[in-house]
Assembly symmetry: C2
Homo-oligomer: 221 residues x 2
Amino acid sequence: MNMMNNLDTAMAPEKSVESNGTARPVDWNNPRVAAILAAAAKCFARRGFSATTLAEIGKELGLRKSIVHYYFASKAALIHEVQSFTYQKYLAKVKDAASGTDPGVSRTVGVVGALWSAIRTDPTLSELNIEVWSAARRDEELKRRASDLQREANTLIDEAIADAVGAGAKVSNQRALSTLIGATLNGLSVAGYLDDAADADGAYQLFQKMLSRELSATSAS
Amino acid sequence: MNMMNNLDTAMAPEKSVESNGTARPVDWNNPRVAAILAAAAKCFARRGFSATTLAEIGKELGLRKSIVHYYFASKAALIHEVQSFTYQKYLAKVKDAASGTDPGVSRTVGVVGALWSAIRTDPTLSELNIEVWSAARRDEELKRRASDLQREANTLIDEAIADAVGAGAKVSNQRALSTLIGATLNGLSVAGYLDDAADADGAYQLFQKMLSRELSATSAS
């Protein structure tokens, strides 16, 4: 009846199983797989993992449950895949923002701005994050995956910071800085979601100003 | 079976009902009430609202379910009271930090530091926050209360900022600043909870430095 039981019994490896018994990796380029992942992200964000069934996700797309089940062996497998898929889409936007401009403080700030605008344009992302944090309290595997994805995002931010301060330069607080940026964006996304009247964008603008100042001070020293 | 149903059916006013039918406000100074609220906070933080029963909360204290029910008419009433109780305890620490020192940038930074140390010393607070954010997606009343409490915290931070910049001085971005501070602390608490290896305290130190710099620039202008 509770979330823990629902997730525990659904726990399974991240791969669907072929009729010959070998694991088949999930193909994100398959349009049907991508559609199922997007529909699942929406359902999970809105109603939570435990209250969402594979049948409901299929219904969103006019597909039978058996079709969803063909691509994803279990709800747990689908949850993990949605988590990775959504995060990778988000990180891809950041990589786009990082390419094409000259390295420096403004490029780094641009990367952080791209992260923020990805959060603001897709409310599903914030709600899915909250669902993952919540479920992670009772699901060690989900927690491990969430902290891996968080580290991956921090690494991207780290690279952007290294850009700003110049190659070879040592930044003593680089890790603290990337942790701070990721945490602030997460916190601002929650503030915007909890209270429409909260000026999350104004707070972001201020953070960006404080960040530029910090990066300039760091690169100059 | 899902969290939404559990919360909806349990929805009731925030007061217990006397035998004569009049509502009785919850008395936080009653040691038994305080013990029930603390035990409930721990259970809710660990297992979530929907998976926790009044009987389990009573069991933590060796009390029968009927005793818990005597003080709290329903699980929803208990959830709302735990939310307020935990938040007020947290805000009281902040008020303590604000009194006794001279107004100025360092007092303001001290208030923010007190918020951070309250978060760090009580992991229940972060987990309870995550549970509230998660349940708020499906419970309008909980969401309304969460955003009210968030605004109350922001007002406290606002007052601390006004202190720093001096009475009568106009701060154009004061509201953005208090939103940013609240959001960053929330985000850092999630980072620390998701990944023990994340340097949440280092990131906090850096934020404090950036904040002092911003406040000094604002008070000087």
